[in-house]
């Protein structure tokens, strides 16, 4: 031993049990901080992947540029690629068709495939020559096309002929709307549509080089090329995940994320601070002895700080390792469950921000947290070591109130509230759990608003009547029902714009038929009345809507092809997934009643959910249905929705789980530390004659004060924080008024209460098993 500081590793080895709690505290704090930042990093990476897959890898789009501006833009050093793009019949309302199917015609540069990885070539090559085009896979299959074939697009008053140079995958929008796509180079596009299309229709999608400060670059470009701000818009989702968005709302989200990150860092600091304070308090006698042997106050301070750093070296690597493994686990889940969307996510990647913040906050916190204990240790009087009072006489400032309460309860309360500083520190660390939980809870509300989830009734494919009439025969429904690859099939018949008299007023309604499945899903939205009578065809459901109201039991008079008929309102629905349009009511009835009322026997739409979602099965259903109906394929769209929701939910609930873990660990640690610090006192009390049960009550009373104080403080501080975060993240975008997060509060309060109960079991067991003689050193 060359230096008194060499005592640290020796002491640590000998007092492994005493320092274990502090080391674990640092390990877990580093783990939580690093896991949260690592998860946030991976979350951003996953969202970036999704944004690129669904919206494209472009950063900014410039519209209405002339050729010179486009060339100058492409020549700029910060611009990686410029892709020109224009589309005709994008909304399927211009009458361009191939074989009677609506067709979208697009013209773009070859770089389009780089910025839209979802649209990739399955065969052939990008059309280099005039009148060459790529066509979608669905067109290839249904028109029986090969590379080199000619395809004729029926245009309003004319037709366009292209030679097929290759095939591309259908987009989810095309599959859902049952439309084709024909894609050509920009020269061909201009030669076809120069007259009908303005230069303004061309948009220049720009991808910037990595690490470019995009907002500044866009400002420079606009200034130097004289482009108005209105001509520029950004890929908000991608820019948001890159932290480059100039969008006001995204900036608000950055602020929310910054506040949450700061709160996580502070909560980690508080955990470590509490643990180190307690550790030093337990070793007062040792520091007194050091002073007794001639150590200066400065040397004791240095000893405590060096010891803190020594713990950092021991505790930070395992903390980081746990967090890396956790983040790996989450990423693997993403990759395994939705491989198409997250194949580019690193399976065993290490989040550098997570590791960086874990180390930084770990070291800074331990150093900052060791300041106070170091000062306290250096202030220990040498007399403390020799007087025999070390660890027995705490500096109590006032006596406990033993008048009204049992002495053990009074002492428990006093242990918690006797020192204001200790009370504030512990209740604040408890409160932080609530504040964090409420803060991260905003993520759930955000997710519910931002992502449209799949409903139980969301179909994989739909067979739709061409003219929205009830033209799909019952026989097709019966035939498809026999198909074992189909999980569920449910049809609806529609009668649009029927004149009706509701509550004596003339209105117009849309009449829809439901069957057993749809009635089952609608149960949850039933506000009044009963579903049974509607199922039996003895009444109808009316969907709540401004201006359309009727009481349950009242009659609605409908005018259909078969004449005027009265139906009884048996129930009111708060919501229906089908909107009838402004001012038009929605009336839902059974299939039998619909047929009696309208005289129609067919369906307008058949929704199908599949067991086997393969293309072969879908093709089989398509050929069984024939060419007389529109065929909407939502599988790709559903996969996108599921991937987006899953990736978001995984991280939002992951954050909440980590925050709940912080709460649980914090409570268990605080109670264990508090009991450890008073163990000698408890030993003396046991010698005097206090029972284990009485000591248990004492610990319970102390815990109760921390819990109640923490809950109160957490709610008082957490609610305003929740209010502001909600306003910035939710109200600013969707206009929803703030509502108190009752469920979040109940969840975290339950978690904390259970954690507090669990937290007492360990210390109480230690008290029960303690040797009085060894504890008080007799």
């Amino acid at each position: 031993m060359k230096n008194y500081l060499n005592l640290i590793p020796i002491s640590s080895k000998l007092h492994r049990r005493q320092t274990r709690m502090t080391r674990w505290c640092i390990v877990i704090s580093v783990f939580l901080i690093s896991a949260i930042f690592g998860m946030a990093d991976m979350f951003l990476q996953s969202q970036k992947n999704l944004a690129v897959m669904t919206d494209g890898a472009w950063h900014v789009v410039f519209r209405e540029l002339d050729e010179e501006q486009t060339a100058l833009l492409a020549a700029r050093p910060e611009v990686k690629s410029v892709t020109r793009y224009a589309a005709t019949n994008y909304k399927l309302d211009m009458g361009y068709e191939v074989g009677g199917v609506q067709t979208v015609l697009c013209g773009f540069d070859e770089t389009f495939f780089e910025i839209y990885p979802q649209a990739h070539l399955t065969e052939g090559a990008f059309p280099e020559r005039d009148r060459e085009a790529l066509v979608t896979e669905s067109m290839r299959e249904r028109q029986g096309l090969s590379v080199g074939d000619e395809v004729v697009v029926a245009a309003p008053g004319d037709s366009l002929t292209f030679r097929v140079s290759g095939f591309v995958e259908d987009t989810s929008m095309m599959l859902k709307t049952d439309s084709f796509g024909v894609f050509m180079n920009t020269d061909t596009y201009l030669s076809c549509f120069r007259d009908a299309t303005l230069t303004a229709d061309f948009a220049c999608y720009v991808e910037f080089v990595p690490h470019c400060r995009i907002q500044r670059a866009v400002g420079d470009i606009c200034e130097s090329l004289h482009i108005a701000k209105e001509q520029v818009s950004e890929n908000a989702r991608l820019m948001g995940t890159l932290g480059q968005s100039g969008d006001h709302y995204i900036m608000m989200l950055y602020l929310v994320a910054f506040i949450l990150a700061a709160l996580v860092a502070v909560s980690g600091m508080m955990m470590i601070l509490g643990s180190m304070n307690s550790n030093v308090a337990q070793r007062t006698e040792f520091f007194g002895m050091m002073r007794c042997l001639g150590a200066t106050a400065k040397q004791v301070r240095r000893y405590v700080r060096t010891e803190a750093l020594f713990w950092c070296m021991k505790a930070i690597p395992p903390g980081l390792l746990f967090s890396v493994v956790t983040v790996w686990g989450l990423c693997r889940m993403l990759k395994v469950i939705t491989p198409t969307w997250f194949s580019e996510m690193p399976g065993f990647g290490i989040s550098l921000p997570g590791v960086f913040f874990g180390i930084l906050i770990g070291i800074l916190t331990v150093l900052a947290a060791s300041r106070t204990p170091a000062r306290k240790a250096s202030e220990v009087s040498p007399l403390t070591a020799v007087s025999g009072n070390a660890g027995t006489v705490f500096a109590a400032k006032r006596a406990a109130h033993t008048g009204r309460l049992h002495v053990e309860t009074a002492l428990g309360l006093h242990h918690a509230a006797g020192s204001r500083k200790n009370l504030i520190l512990l209740t604040s660390s408890f409160a932080f759990s609530i504040i964090l939980f409420l803060g991260f809870g905003i993520g759930i509300t955000f997710m519910k608003h931002a992502i449209v989830t799949l409903r139980p009734y969301t179909p994989d494919i739909s067979v739709v009547s061409q003219d929205d009439s009830c033209s799909i025969p019952d026989s097709l429904y019966t035939a498809l029902k026999e198909n074992t690859d189909i999980k569920r099939i449910f049809g609806r018949s529609f009668a649009y714009d029927l004149p009706a008299q509701i509550q004596g007023e003339d209105k117009r309604v849309m009449l829809i038929s439901y069957e057993a499945y749809q009635f089952g899903w609608a149960e949850g939205d039933l506000r009044q009345g009963e579903m049974e009578a509607v199922r039996d065809g003895e009444g109808v459901l009316l969907v709540e809507k401004p201006g359309i109201a009727a009481a349950v039991g009242s009659d609605i008079e409908l005018e259909t092809k078969t004449g005027r008929q009265k139906v009884r309102v048996a129930g009111i629905l708060g919501y229906a997934p089908l909107d009838s349009g402004e001012g038009v009511g929605t009336v839902i009835c059974s299939e039998d009643l619909f047929r009696r009322l309208t005289g129609e026997t067919g369906y307008t739409i058949l929704d199908i959910q599949l067991h086997d979602k393969s293309d072969a099965v879908v093709e089989g259903i398509r050929s069984a249905a024939g060419e007389n109906y529109r065929f909407s394929d939502s599988r790709k769209n559903n996969r996108e929705t599921r991937a987006v929701y899953f990736s978001f939910a995984l991280f939002v609930y992951g954050f909440l789980a980590v925050v709940a873990l912080i709460a649980v660990f914090n409570i268990i640690n605080s109670i264990a530390m508090s009991v450890s610090a008073r163990m000698r006192q408890y030993g003396a009390m046991r010698a005097i004659g206090i029972s284990v049960r009485q000591l248990q009550s004492m610990v319970a009373a102390e815990t109760l004060v921390y819990l109640a104080g923490g809950l109160a403080e957490g709610l008082v501080l957490g609610m305003p924080l929740h209010y502001y975060l909600y306003r910035w993240a939710i109200t600013a975008r969707w206009g929803d008024a703030w509502r108190a997060p009752v469920i979040e509060c109940l969840v975290i309060m339950t978690v904390m209460t259970l954690a507090a109960v669990a937290a007492m079991t360990g210390p109480v067991r230690r008290i029960r098993e303690m040797s009085v003689v060894e504890t008080i050193g007799m």
């Binding site: 009072n389 006489v393 049992h406 006797g418 010698a687 004659g689 029972s691 049960r693 007799m778």
Partner: protein
């Protein structure tokens, strides 16, 4: 009347080569009101003896009867309650509760029994201890001698049949030591309480009725008239 009856008491620590026999077949009795001292060198086993009699440590063999009750035939909870009602402890390091004032510390064993303290009795103890003026003081505001007096008051308040004192003057100066011994003498004489005290200080055994010596775990009774010889 026998208050303490120790029969064939053995206490062993460790196993194999590390085995230490702290007490070897110790037997003795103490009568009501008797003030006995146990002397011996450090590590001789005297503290172990006191801890076993006080039910703080469990013997390896033998039995201890206090007021006719076998201590280690009781269950833990019962033994704890028996201890707080029948055995008073005085420690070298006082072990006062820092959050309770002088009066609260003294009545602490009664509070643990959920009994309302008799104010006359409390006054009497405070007067005997000379702590009336300091009844609202916290332990941290008292001198060592005063703290030990509070500890004695805490041991006396339940009027226990037996008081065990482990080096009660070990942390005190000569004047305070004398005062503490006077108090213990008074407790033994005036209140007929049996006292067993461990000490290193040969001067203290002049005040006791009987002296026992522990050496290598073996107890020998030096009798009651050794005062002059020892001093």
């Amino acid at each position: 009347m026998e208050i303490v009856e120790v029969q064939d008491l053995c206490k062993t620590y460790g196993m194999g080569e590390a085995k230490v026999e702290a007490l070897k077949h110790v037997s003795f009795t103490l009568q009501k009101g008797e003030f006995a001292a146990v002397i011996g060198e450090s590590g001789s086993g005297k503290s172990t003896l006191l801890n076993c009699i006080g039910a703080l440590d469990e013997p390896t063999g033998g039995q201890i009867m206090i007021d006719g009750r076998n201590l280690f035939a009781m269950r833990e909870e019962e033994r704890t309650i028996f201890r707080r009602r029948n055995i008073g402890f005085i420690f070298q390091s006082f072990h006062l509760i820092p959050e309770l004032n002088v009066e609260q510390n003294i009545i602490f064993p009664l509070l643990l029994d959920y009994k309302k303290p008799d104010s006359r009795q409390v006054e009497e103890v405070l007067e005997v201890l000379g702590l009336q003026e300091r009844r609202r003081h916290l332990p941290g505001q008292l001198s060592g001698g005063q703290q030990q007096r509070v500890a004695i008051g805490r041991a006396l308040i339940t009027k226990p049949k037996l008081i065990l004192a482990d080096e009660p003057t070990g942390n005190l100066d000569r004047k305070n030591s004398r005062e503490v011994m006077e108090l213990l003498r008074k407790a033994s004489g005036q209140y007929q309480q049996t006292i067993l005290m461990i000490t290193h200080n040969p001067n203290l055994i002049t005040s006791v009725d009987r002296v026992m010596q522990v050496a290598d775990g073996i107890l020998s009774d030096l009798g009651g008239n050794v005062n002059e010889k020892l001093s």
